[in-house]
Symmetry: C2
Subunit: 396 residues, 2 copies
């Protein structure tokens, strides 16, 4: 079996220089904000600073920790089962405990390591935790409380803003991976006529698409949702039912696939044999809204402005809200990342951000349509990473 | 395209009666332990009590909440984007907010709903959070702290033991789903000769296996790890490299695939053309260790006893530790669940638990082998859900 994606596959992983740069950027922000240490517990954050890439995060049993000191290199405090793979990264200081061990799931070792990194001077030390929006802490809360009690003379503060600022702007190597997975997905959507047909149960259509994605070079398709119904669909996050595709259906697949740990996130709409005028009009409106959003993407503009540009097109066409709550977001190591294209998000767009444009609208009662494209921000414009959808609803 | 799994696919979802039973079981334990309310935030827990099944959890942007009161039905407090799909479940009381809204990401609505469920009598109310082993809280910690400040007259305590006790014992419908995904995976492993060959890059072998899993009826393969090397492999959680498979390699794939939100988790080992005597001996030892573990599985025995039964076989053969930290675990809505087959886990085995047996050992310096089978516990014995691996290392 060979993969058929047209793009040349970028190298996997990142150079040590790139990790050193990420660390230096983090430490500069830590210094500005007075952090002595960051304690990272989540997959994306640990991978961002270490390169530790594994599907083993699927198992909720064991916590994993990466410590970023104010000076010097990160220190990994991890279960023994991960030592060999962590040794393949640029991280050299790796401390392990035998896990599972619920009665002391790394807490003693973590406490001791933090004390050492604070040079036995933990009084009033400011330790960062990812406590803010779109973040979680991936360790049992009882264990975190125990850790904080053991280090009760430290201040524990939110470091999500630092992580957010760093991860929102992508490196050239990150953009290459994002471009590659977008190309694979565009190639697969271009096979729609071979993959989808009237009479095919929707869940089989999804299965065929997922298999084609793998054949075309995706590492995985962790996110594939959508719907199909006469003249539109009812919601956009359901698993597919076995209902057969029918003439007049609008089929939508929204795809979050990964290459080397980086996501695409865009959808495509197709009709079978014919489509309602309302569906055709909604498609054209959303296509124009995407154009308007794209034109508003440049460094210095805000996400709120991008939202307004799209919303103006939809309102002019008399379209109601699709209920999604925003019209696109950041994209990278996670399916969705900061920022959000919405009125309340005043994030200023910067060069090398990777974003989605995702306008949606209601078509008729209970039927909506969603468009989505992925793009990278350049010095004074934007570039689509997804192959731009056709300007009229494709009829298969 | 048709699916080729031999087993008849069980019905998707669960009856309302099953959700009512789960709720009644939870409320009985809540009463025993004095809980007035449970606040659930994680995918498995919310799905367990509501049936809410979506891949949308891949997006970290929005938190989701399910409240279990001491009396009456659960109440969902969720982002508007999920309302339509939540309406398809048995949950009738659904409160939504427009999300994303990081400045108040559901916290006010959640506070108000909790006050209402506590009948405006929150003083000293005991609210459960999944704070214990193998659990996390899936909401920003700052938001949890704000919620706790708004309800500062409540006691916030760990309810993981309740969730653990309920989820460890499976219903007939859950076992049917687990049996089905195990059968699909066994069917796919039986195609090994067609799927794997010398000269094939390891990552292409993984890709071929994953495609066959989908063709055989798996909904998804969120977890596929393993390795291949001369006479054994170095670690068991790495993504595959493009190194070509060679004669004398031992190939292992460890598969966490899902059907309707339920996981299998077992591996298989194969050699190409020939294998070292050490690898063959390790295989036989681990096969016998699995037999010993299986014989020790019956209601009333402990997980520690199952571990000891396996460990005794490995020690008698002079095998060292594989470094995995345990020899199997619970299985269900997550790839790994409580309990653990290890010396310190005194969990008593009960009828209708679904468990893995996962003995591992070192073969030579830096080379290990892992076996794994899945089983369901009956009244006085166990039954394999995975098709038992052959007793000698298969040579392809």
């Amino acid at each position: 079996m060979t993969t058929t994606a047209h793009a040349v596959q970028p190298e996997r992983g990142f150079s040590t220089a790139e990790f050193e740069q990420r660390l230096a950027n983090a430490q500069a922000l830590m210094k500005q904000q007075g952090f002595d240490l960051l304690l990272l517990t989540t997959e994306a954050e640990i991978r961002y600073f270490s390169g530790f890439l594994t599907l083993f995060w699927q198992s909720p049993t064991r916590p994993w920790f990466l410590l970023l000191p104010a000076h010097g290199n990160p220190v990994a405090v991890i279960p023994g089962i991960g030592e060999e793979i962590m040794r393949k990264t640029w991280i050299s200081d790796i401390r392990t405990w035998s896990s599972p061990q619920p009665e002391d799931e790394g807490v003693s070792l973590l406490t001791e390591t933090i004390r050492e990194l604070l040079q036995r001077n933990s009084k009033n030390a400011k330790i960062g935790l990812t406590k803010g929006a779109e973040s979680t802490i991936r360790m049992p809360l009882e264990d975190l409380e125990r850790l904080q009690a053991l280090l009760s003379n430290c201040q524990w503060q939110n470091c999500t803003p630092i992580i957010r600022q760093l991860r929102m702007v992508k490196s050239a190597a990150e953009i290459a991976k994002l471009r590659h997975i977008c190309t694979i997905t565009s190639t697969t959507f271009a096979q729609a006529k071979q993959l989808f047909h009237i009479g095919q149960p929707l869940d089989e259509a999804f299965r065929a698409f997922k298999i084609a994605m793998l054949q075309n070079g995706a590492d995985d398709v962790p996110y594939l949702v959508g719907g199909a119904d006469q003249g539109g669909y009812g919601d956009v996050i359901s698993p597919p039912q076995p209902t057969p595709l029918a003439a007049g259906d609008v089929l939508m697949l929204d795809t979050g696939a990964v290459f080397d740990g980086y996501y695409c996130d865009f959808d495509r709409n197709f009709a079978f044999e014919h489509a309602s005028d309302a569906a055709k009009r909604a498609y054209i409106t959303l296509h124009k809204a995407t154009d308007a959003g794209f034109a508003a993407i440049k460094p210095g503009n805000t996400c709120a402005q991008v939202f307004q540009a799209m919303q103006a097109v939809i309102e002019e066409a008399g379209g109601g809200s699709g209920g999604v709550g925003r019209m696109g977001h950041g994209l990278g190591m996670q399916l969705t990342e900061w920022p959000s294209n919405m009125l309340s998000d005043q994030t200023v767009i910067e060069e090398n951000m990777v974003l989605t444009l995702e306008p949606s609208m209601s078509i008729t009662e209970g039927k909506i349509m969603v468009h989505e494209e992925n793009l990278v921000v350049h010095a004074d414009s934007a570039e689509y990473l997804s192959q731009r959808a056709p300007s009229e609803l494709p009829i298969l």
